[in-house]
Structure formats: structure tokens, C-alpha cells
């Protein structure tokens, strides 16, 4: 019984974090058709800056650290868009039919640049952002760090705000429309560049928050860039590219599978069942769980 509760609590938090990390990734795909393989870089840059400001080097307040970290995530997202993605989208030298794989490769390389840059500046050893709150609480008898629960709650609050933004504001609706049909939106008089600016900022925000939260819980290091990208990639494809609800479902499927595996079998093969499931699903239903295409 305790075991079940532990799995539930742990899975709730992990799933929420995964969902938050993947939400931005899938929105970007929906609107720009871009799979950003430097995704882990956005998260880790945010985490590292938050650590630098609040923890290890500048000793500022935690709030300052979190704000700076999230801002750094947004800067990284914009840099990805303006320095890599847009040039690749506009280059006349790249044939149209190969644009997709060029952007995949270019963002992958950017991810390496970010990873190596972090390793150079901060060494490759992991760091942790100070917990938002310390101490532990008892949830149905399971002792859980308060910070861990708070991470889960914050993740859901941010996801809720995202939902409100997309469904209740004019700009948000434009983003939603753009993800369905960018050209139609342009015909309706929306400025697509403006939408892109908005979406990449939103993406940086989500990735930044996810990165900082992750770093208060599990820590972050340069070596995590690739793994975080792969994990978001897996979740987003499992849920169906471009579908935020799909990503959330997939995040929880993966989160709980990993947690159950870690508790019942061994943490060593934690990620294995998720990957095998992904392969099976891709073979049976390539558009993912809730995907449209």
C-alpha cells in the first residue's frame, strides 16, 4: 500500500515535470514545424543560471535566481530561433524537401555547442538549485520533500496558465490557430513573425521553468542536455506531434511507467519500458496517442 502511494506521489511529480518540459517542445512543432533538438540546452541553461545566481556564485536570493534562470531559458530559445532556425528556414541554398532534416541537424549541433559551453564555464559536474522550500511533508503516510510536491503543483499551475492563455486570450487563440494552419492565419491578417516571436518566447518560458524546477529536485549538468532532449522528443512523439494534451498524457504514461519500473524492478532500467513502448506505438500508430498527423 505504501509502495502504491509512493509510486503515485513520485509519478505525479515526475509526470508533471515531463509534461511541462514537453509542452513547449510540442507547441513549437505545431506552430513552426520545428523539432528543436537543442531543447535540453534551453532547460539546462536556465538551471545553470538559476544555480549561479541563487546558489553557487552570486549568492542572490532564490527568487532572483529563478527569475534570471527563466529569463536565460527565454534568451536561449530566442537565440535558437533567430540564429539557427530562421536562417535555416530562409536559406535559399537548402532545398525545400531537405529543410526538415537540416533544421533537425542544425539544432542538434546547437545543443552540442550549448552543452560544451556549459561544461567549459561550469565544469561537467552537476549542480542543484536550492530547493524552493525545505522540509518534508507526510502525504498519506509517505514522507515526501515539500519541494517535490511544490514542483508538481507549480508545473500544473503553469500548465493551467498556458491553457488559459491559449483558450482565453486573442494572442493565445492566434497561436492555437497557427498550430492548425499557419497560412490561413496569415490570410486573416495576423503577422506570422509576431506569432513566432510569441511562441518561441512562450517556449523559452516553459522550458526555463521546467529546467529550474528540475534542477531543484534532481540537479542539472551539461551532460543532461542530450538526455532531456531525447526524453521530450519521446514524450512528444508518443503523444502525437503538436498535441499539447497528447504530450501531457504521454508525459504521465512515461512518468508512471518509469516510476513503477524503478520501484518494482530496478532504477537501472527505468527508461527501458518507455522506449520499448514508444517503438511499439510508432510501429502500430505512427501519429502517436492523440496525434493528428
Amino acid at each position: 500500500m505504501t509502495l502504491l502511494l509512493q509510486v503515485l506521489v513520485d509519478g505525479f511529480v515526475i509526470g508533471a515535470l515531463y509534461g511541462l518540459g514537453a509542452a513547449g517542445f510540442t507547441i513549437i512543432f505545431g506552430v513552426s514545424g520545428v523539432l528543436n533538438l537543442a531543447h535540453g540546452g534551453v532547460m539546462v541553461v536556465a538551471a545553470m543560471v538559476a544555480w549561479m545566481v541563487a546558489g553557487g556564485i552570486l549568492h542572490a536570493s532564490l527568487l532572483t535566481g529563478v527569475v534570471c534562470g527563466v529569463a536565460a531559458g527565454m534568451v536561449t530559445a530566442y537565440a535558437t530561433y533567430y540564429l539557427v532556425v530562421r536562417p535555416a528556414q530562409r536559406s535559399r541554398r537548402i532545398p525545400d524537401e531537405e529543410r526538415e532534416i537540416f533544421i533537425l541537424t542544425a539544432t542538434l549541433l546547437l545543443g552540442i555547442v550549448i552543452q560544451e559551453g556549459i561544461a567549459y564555464l561550469f565544469t561537467s559536474n552537476p549542480v542543484t538549485v536550492p530547493p524552493l522550500v525545505s522540509g518534508v511533508v507526510h502525504v498519506f503516510g509517505v514522507r515526501t520533500p515539500t519541494n517535490e510536491l511544490l514542483i508538481g503543483v507549480i508545473s500544473w499551475v503553469v500548465l493551467g496558465l498556458l491553457w488559459l492563455f491559449v483558450n482565453r486570450t486573442r494572442q493565445g487563440k492566434a497561436v492555437l490557430a497557427a498550430s492548425i494552419n499557419p497560412h490561413g492565419l496569415a490570410m486573416l491578417g495576423f503577422e506570422l513573425p509576431q506569432i513566432h516571436r510569441l511562441v518561441w518566447g512562450l517556449y523559452g518560458l516553459l522550458g526555463g521553468v521546467a529546467g529550474v524546477l528540475l534542477a531543484t529536485f534532481e540537479g542539472a549538468s551539461s551532460g543532461l542536455v542530450g538526455g532531456l532532449t531525447a526524453s521530450a522528443f519521446i514524450i512528444v512523439v508518443l503523444g502525437g506531434l503538436g498535441s499539447v494534451p497528447g504530450s501531457l498524457v504521454a508525459a504521465y504514461v512515461i512518468g508512471f511507467m518509469e516510476t513503477v519500473t524503478a520501484y518494482l524492478i530496478s532504477p537501472a532500467i527505468r527508461t527501458l519500458p518507455g522506449m520499448v513502448l514508444l517503438l511499439l506505438i510508432l510501429y502500430v500508430r505512427p501519429q502517436g496517442l492523440l496525434g493528428r498527423r
Partner: protein, 313 residues
């Protein structure tokens, strides 16, 4: 007619430049240090990784994030055979290559139904799974640390250099011949317009599978040879995603859809790493950033700077 073409061919200055340069490559061991040979040996094997990758990326239009799945299978199967059985080294290497092809077929059969990012993801996941399995069975595979193999190709740098050079030249010629054959053209057509190619009656899947098998064969072979050159096999030499990234950088730098570009990029990459050694940890960053710039501004790579004679349709 035939004679005329031959004469024309013989008059071409490129032929003489090429021949001269090839002779120089063969004679290189006469006047460079053993150390340079060592660097180039690695570069040549790496060149085969990159050329095999280019057959899929450049021609079939498939971004394969899992070349190290094939390389790793080839390396580990041959290495483990060498350590646990008394099979001669040559057979170990052959077995590694066969295993890579079998694994490649198992992966490709279903994966080739997928396109673009989905294919990329499946190949990426295959590497992650292989890595997990290797770590999981650490008592047999050496886990994170890997193991040293009892046999090596040769201690002599010159001999190793010639093995690698011959292997690269032969692989390059086979891969080029395939790429320039009708099959290569069909692959190229399917990469650019899969539906159109299918409509023209080509069996797209069959050709892609053949390309994948060929890529697997040379990747596996190169993986096996690399470990018998290095004398050790480990995850971060032949399986890690960092190796994949290096392969992609090499192929992109050299120029995609050229095959030879892969070898060129690999040599550039490995030699550049030697020059960048003084800047230490920054060297990986500089190389990746440079590749990114090349990708964005000269997407055809180094060889793209030399316009081809034949008209591109």
C-alpha cells in the same frame, strides 16, 4: 568511341592530380611520423562511418540518429566473440559485420515505414536501448568501462595505416558505385519526393532497405576494425550519442550526397581536433559551432564549394 572516351579521360588534368594525390596517400608513411599515421588511421575509419551515414542521409533523405547502433553492434559482437571464444580475429570481424546487418534489417524493416523525425527518433531510441542493454549486462559487456580485446590488427603504425586506407578506399568505391547506380538515383528520388517515386513504380521500401543494409555492413565492419585497431571497446568509443554527433558533423562538413565528402569531413574533423588541442575543452565547442555555421551558410559542405560539372536535375 570507347577509345575516344578513354583518351578524353586520360587527358583530364583532374585524373593526374587525383592519381598523384592517391599515390601520395599511399606513400605518406615514408615521410610523416608514426603519430600522424595514428591520427589518420582513426580518421579513415571514421570516414567510413560518415560515408555510410551519408548514403542514408544524402541519398535516401533519412536522418539516421543511430549510426552508432550499427557500429556498436558490429564492435561489441566482434569484440565479445574475440574475448569469449577462440574464433580467429578475421571471423570475429566478419561476424560483427553480419550481426550489424541483421540488426540493421530488424530495425529498418518497420522503421522504414516512418518518415523524417519519426525515423530519426526510432534510430535514436535504438541507440539508447543498446546502451542500456550493454550497461545492464555489465558482467558480460564490461558495462560503462568496456573491455580490452586480446587481438589487435597490428602494432605497427604503418600496417595499421594501410589497413585503414585500403578499407576506406574500398568502402568508398563500393558506396560511391551504389550511389551513382540506378539504385542511388531512385534513392535520391524517393528522398525528395517519396510519393512521386512510388507512383513511378519504384519499390521504395526495397531500395531503402538495401541502402540501410549496405550502410549497416560498412558501419559494422568499420566498428569492428576500429576496436581491433584500438585494442579496446567501450560505450563512449562506439555507441555513445557523442559519436553520432561527430559522424553527422563530419558528413555535413564534407558535403552531403557525395559519399567522399564524409571521408573528407572525418579527416578534417580529426585533424582539426589535433590542432585545437591547445584550447583544450573548448575544442568540441568550436568544432560543433563551425559545423553549424557550415550547415547554415554552405549547406553543401566543403565539396559544395567546388561546383559539379553534371547538371543537377
Amino acid at each position: 568511341m570507347k577509345r575516344e572516351r578513354l583518351m578524353q579521360w586520360l587527358r583530364s588534368p583532374r585524373l593526374w592530380v587525383a592519381a598523384l594525390a592517391l599515390v601520395a596517400m599511399v606513400l605518406l608513411p615514408l615521410w610523416v611520423s608514426e603519430y600522424v599515421l595514428g591520427v589518420l588511421t582513426i580518421a579513415y575509419y571514421f570516414g567510413v562511418f560518415a560515408m555510410s551515414w551519408d548514403l542514408l542521409f544524402g541519398y535516401a533523405g533519412e536522418v539516421n540518429f543511430g549510426p552508432t547502433f550499427l557500429i556498436g553492434i558490429g564492435a561489441y559482437v566482434s569484440g565479445m566473440l574475440n574475448i569469449y571464444t577462440s574464433v580467429p580475429m578475421v571471423l570475429c570481424i566478419a561476424a560483427g559485420a553480419v550481426a550489424a546487418v541483421i540488426a540493421g534489417v530488424l530495425l529498418a524493416l518497420p522503421a522504414l515505414r516512418l518518415r523524417g523525425a519519426y525515423f530519426g527518433l526510432v534510430t535514436l531510441v535504438s541507440v539508447l536501448i543498446l546502451q542500456t542493454v550493454i550497461v545492464l549486462f555489465a558482467s558480460y559487456t564490461g558495462g560503462e568501462i568496456g573491455f580490452s580485446v586480446p587481438s589487435i590488427l597490428s602494432i605497427d603504425s604503418g600496417v595499421n595505416y594501410y589497413y585503414a586506407l585500403a578499407f576506406m578506399v574500398v568502402s568508398g568505391m563500393v558506396l560511391l558505385a551504389v550511389a551513382r547506380s540506378p539504385m542511388g538515383l531512385i534513392l535520391q528520388a524517393t528522398g525528395q519526393d517519396p510519393l512521386g517515386a512510388q507512383a513511378l513504380g519504384f519499390n521504395v521500401t526495397k531500395h531503402k532497405l538495401a541502402a540501410f543494409c549496405l550502410s549497416a555492413l560498412f558501419s559494422g565492419l568499420a566498428g569492428a576494425l576500429t576496436i581491433f585497431y584500438l585494442g579496446s571497446v567501450s560505450v563512449n568509443t562506439v555507441v555513445d550519442l557523442a559519436v553520432t554527433v561527430q559522424i553527422i558533423i563530419a558528413a555535413v562538413l564534407g558535403g552531403r550526397r557525395t559519399i567522399v565528402g564524409g571521408a573528407l569531413g572525418a579527416i578534417f574533423l580529426i585533424v582539426a581536433a589535433e590542432y585545437l588541442r591547445p584550447i583544450g575543452e573548448l575544442s568540441n565547442l568550436v568544432v560543433a559551432a563551425f559545423a553549424l555555421i557550415v550547415l547554415l551558410f554552405i549547406p553543401d559542405g566543403f565539396l559544395g564549394l567546388f561546383p559539379r560539372r553534371e547538371a543537377r536535375s
